[in-house]
Structures are given as C-alpha cells and as structure tokens.
Amino acid sequence: MALLFEQLLNGLQFGAMLFMLASGLTLIFGIMGVINLTHGSFYMVGAYCGAFALGHTNSFAAGVVAALAGAALYGLLVEFAVIRRLYKRDHLYQVLATFGLILFTNEAVSMIFGRQPPMVEIPAFLDGTVPLAPGFRYPLMRLAFIVVGALVALGLWFLINRTRVGMLVRAGADDREMVDALGIDIQKLYSVVFGLGALLCGLAGVMAAPLLAVEIGMGERVLITTFVVIVIGGVGSVRGAMAGALLVGMVDSLGRAYFPQLLGAMLSPEVADMLAAGLVSASVYVLMALVLIFRPKGLLG
C-alpha cells in the first residue's frame, strides 16, 4: 500500500515536471502556430544557468533567478532572431529551423560551460527525506517539485483567466487573425507567450538540476514526451497540458512499477521480461494512440 502511494507520488512528480514544460509548448503551438523543437533546449539552458549560479554563489535562490532569466532571455532571443521569420511559413520550415537550433544550442552550451556535466547539490533545506506515514519516507526535493508544479498551475490559471494578458492569450488561441484585426499588437503577445514558455522551462530545468545530470542533450530526452503530453491534452489548452502531464506521468510511473510484476505473474520470466520492457517503453505512446482514437483533438482540445 505504501509502495503504491509512493509510486503515485513519483507519477505526480514526473507529471509536475512535464506540466512545466508542456504548458509553454502548448501555448506556443496553439497561439503562435509554431512547432518549437527548441523547447527542450530552453530547459537545458535553464539547468546550466542555474547550475552555474549555484556553483558560484552557493545560493539556490540565485540559481533559480539565473535559470529563469537565462532561459527566458534565450527564448526571447530565439523568437526575435529566428521564429519571428517563420510564422507565415509551413510547419516543415519551423521544424527544420528549430531542429537546427537544438544542434546550435548544444554546441554553444558545451563551448560556454564545457563538456563536463556540472555538479549540482541538493540545497540543504530540501535535502533528505520526510516521513509521510509511519514507515514511509519521501525525498523532500521531490515533494518540493510537486509543490512548485502546483504553484505554476495556480499561477497560470490566474494569469490566463484573471488578467488582460491572459484574455489576449485565450483569444489568440481561438482565433489569432481576429485578435490581430481588432488592433492588438499580436507580435508583442507572441513574444510574451514565447518568453513565458521559456521561463517555465528554465524553472523545470533548475528544479530538475539537483536530481538529474545537467548535461548536453538533456532537453531532447524530455522533448518527445512533452509533445506527447500536449497532443494528449489538446494543443493550445493549458488545462489539457495539465491533464495530459498528470496522465502521462502516472501511466509512465505506474507502468514501470507494475507491468513487470503483472506480466511476471502470468508468463515465463524470459518472455515477461522482454514484453514488459517493451510495454514500459511504449506505454505513453499507446496511451496517446488510445486518446486520439476516441478524441482526435486531444482530451480538452
């Protein structure tokens, strides 16, 4: 029972991380109509900037500020220098350009920060485990991750439903030509959305840095799963991104936890091992296929 609860928390934590990445990506795709493969790179840039500041100041707060600033500034730079020229082009051009930017960013980061993955220690106030039930302890850093994910969700809900910018974002997601025709500077809105998406990536990056290796290519590893999340949730919907992130996080975690045992109980060990390993790798894509069969536009699209 404690194990199931722990695996649920693990799924929640993975979901929180996916949500921070997917909410920005879904807005960029939904509002700007841009397929942005560079999204994972923003996450990496955030992690590196955070690790750099943390290594030099020993303050986690400084690391967070540096990660947010670094990722957001890089996002704005990318929007200004490249994406801005591609709004009217076909998706294929956007994929090509942003794929090139992945390669460019990886090379730039290894030139600036070096190839050695920087060490990021867990800040003292988040180190260790806390008891959640008798005999059940959970790492504090992972709990903090879940809390930050929830705060981001709340913050985004407020921003989108209660502010003027949010109103424009919602309008833009529905009909961007009409927003433009009504005299709103859509270019400015695009920049805001793109910067906000990159900022959230930076936050995910710096939160992940103490738990994961900060290395070249870390962004590509989460990129595909992030796209799966927004497709499941429905492109352009932050609530969809939230539902998709939680669903993918849970399916992935519980699948990894229970598929091998479940199949092991039914089949011979060799067959079960191979099959479970394959199923575990494919579980989120099977989930995506199922969702698309019944709701071709995603859960909340």
Partner: protein
Amino acid sequence: MVLLAPNYQAGRDALAGFKRTYKGEVVAEIYTKLDQSDFSVEMARVRSLAPDAVYQFHPGGAGINFAKQYANSGLNKTVPMLMPAFSMDGRMLAASGASAEGFYTVGMWSTEMDNPQSRAFVKAFTETYGRKPTDYGMQAYDTALLIGSALKAVNGDLSKGDAFRAALLKADFQSLRGKFRFNHNQHPIQDYYLMRIERSGNEFVPKVVRKVVSDDQDAYAGQCKL
C-alpha cells in the same frame, strides 16, 4: 541482489555477465528505459524488495542521475550499490559529488592505484588538463605505450610487419594497471579490483579496497581458435 540496467544490448550483456559468475540469489532484474532520466519508480521497488545489495549498469548521464537519486532517496544508507567502473567514471564522479560516496565499483584501474607509473601518469595528466584522468584516458595512454614498445622492437621500421605484430603481442611495457599481457586470442589477461568511492580533500575518488580477480581472461577465450 537486485540488478538494474537499461533495456538495450549493452545493458542486457552487463547483467548476463554478472549472472555468469554470481552464485547468490538474484531477487529481481529491472530493465530501465534507455532514455530514462528519473529512477524514482525503480528505487521505490528496490526499497520494497530490500535486497542485500544492488548492482547497476548505467553509463553516462543516466548513471549520474542514478547515483544522485539513489543518495537522495536514502537508499545509499541501507542498500550498498555495486557497479562496473563505466557506471561511475571520473567525469561522472565529479558531477555526482557527495552522492557517490560509499558506492563500490569494479575495474582494472583507479586514479588511486598504488604503482609508480600510474602515480606519475595521474600527476602529469592532472597538471596538464586540470582534472583527473578517466579509465578511458588510462587505456589510451597504455595503448600508446604498447604501440611504442613494439615500434622500439623494430627500430621504427614498419615494413617489418610480422616482427611488429609479434612485438605487439609480447606487450613489453609497464602498464598503468600493473600486470598486463595478451591471451592466445589477443584479448588482455589482467587483474580486477574492487574500489570504494571515498572523500579525499575536496573531491571524491575510487579508493582501492582489494584485488578481486587475478589474471582474469575473457569468458570466451576457450572457444577461440586463434
């Protein structure tokens, strides 16, 4: 034991190799995804299985993730972790920091190896590049020494191909790993050591605990026709 490795050929090979000589009970074999970066689920499972020890093969970034999360989950205090040296090389050790303290690795060499040629190499490498050499650096250096020894034997005259090859097979050089010679199948015969990651000043290093295998040869040497 609980064994963990990514679900690809090298990972499967690593666990097959472990099981070939291990006589105790393997409670579970867990195959992780190749691109996986978070291991919380697997660690919860390890904790529930409560084995005497864990053996894992995750080279590169995945290994850093594994070490950091293993320490963060508190498992490092209850379940000792063993791994091949590839799962915690020098660069990974620098990125893992205190998380890696107390883990055991097995390999043919360590920066802490106590022989004069290895000490001289580590010192010179560290002075030149500002970091400790990895096992791969050691192997490259040994290879250069080997080629050098054979070149010396033929006085640099590479037109004597057969003599050069014969000199290579003799492996007449002082290997950094101590003993080194070639088997009849041209694979090395060498010793293996158990290391424990320990603090040394500001950094963490693999201290040699003891030699675990003498004159080890590869598992398929007997079947080789060479």
